[in-house]
Symmetry: C2
Subunit: 185 residues, 2 copies
Amino acid sequence: MTDCLPLDLPDWAIPYDDRSLIIADDEGRMRLAIELARQNVEHGTGGPFGAAIFSQAEGRLLAIGVNSVLRLNSSVLHAEMMAIMRAQRLLGTYTLKQPGHALYSSCEPCAMCLGGILWSGIERLVCAAPAEAARAIGFDEGPVRPDSYNHLERAGIAILRGVMADEGTQVILRYQAAGGTIYNA
Amino acid sequence: MTDCLPLDLPDWAIPYDDRSLIIADDEGRMRLAIELARQNVEHGTGGPFGAAIFSQAEGRLLAIGVNSVLRLNSSVLHAEMMAIMRAQRLLGTYTLKQPGHALYSSCEPCAMCLGGILWSGIERLVCAAPAEAARAIGFDEGPVRPDSYNHLERAGIAILRGVMADEGTQVILRYQAAGGTIYNA
């Protein structure tokens, strides 16, 4: 059992994992990431975070992820990491560079995910809710500083923050209102 | 194939994955992490990095990891992340808090792994080679700052750096001399 980390999606998420889906614009792609976060809360399958990876030029969905730390018992399984791991499994490679891919996250990534994005070959990162929204309900985001984003940009990753920030934040507040677990608090 | 991330050890490493092993002292435990890094280079199975997780009080080996990015085609599979994922699979939980565990890494962790350690429940981090040794041969370590370590310490993680630093560095230099791939450079 140590020789594999399960990356199963919750049952409700499987219809969203549709590689025929093409979405041209940032808001449309982000709407999917936030919907995944929202459904994860509504179904009680994990924290209020969702992510989706699209090919940058065509806008074709490659992989999705939802926070699965508690469901799959792995502290690594934040939404972004799950999406990256699933995407690389699909392409059979450790880098998503060819063709270029963009990752949409319903909340600004924690320190682990920001580092994970740097190694993933993702060429563009788009975020909704500010990290502060996650911190405000008790999630530690780890050592992320303004310069952390600069580091990724210097490495050639384009970053756009604050796309549908209110919608991403609402899902986080909904998790708090529903009494969701703040793991590793 | 997207529903699982392989965490297989290379064949040569399997005898090292011995949960009856008990090592009381930091140097002895670090010697294992560095030996894993060295063997990974000698066998051409990955980057010059190894990690091992021991129960803090008893010193019993729980899990090992070696850099497996190229071998298993996942940018997430740094030695530390592999050890954490294997350890949590063994214990069947997303936190290594009970009983307390220490992670030994042959080199100071990159940004992703440092964040990953923060969420893992590890209570003590011990490192050998300085991050600068990895940077010097072309590996980007990501946005790690002195304050990143302070963040982990404030979260209750004890950190000891520079244990057998020369031995850890030698393995990194050996990788460079052998013409090892600097992936994601």
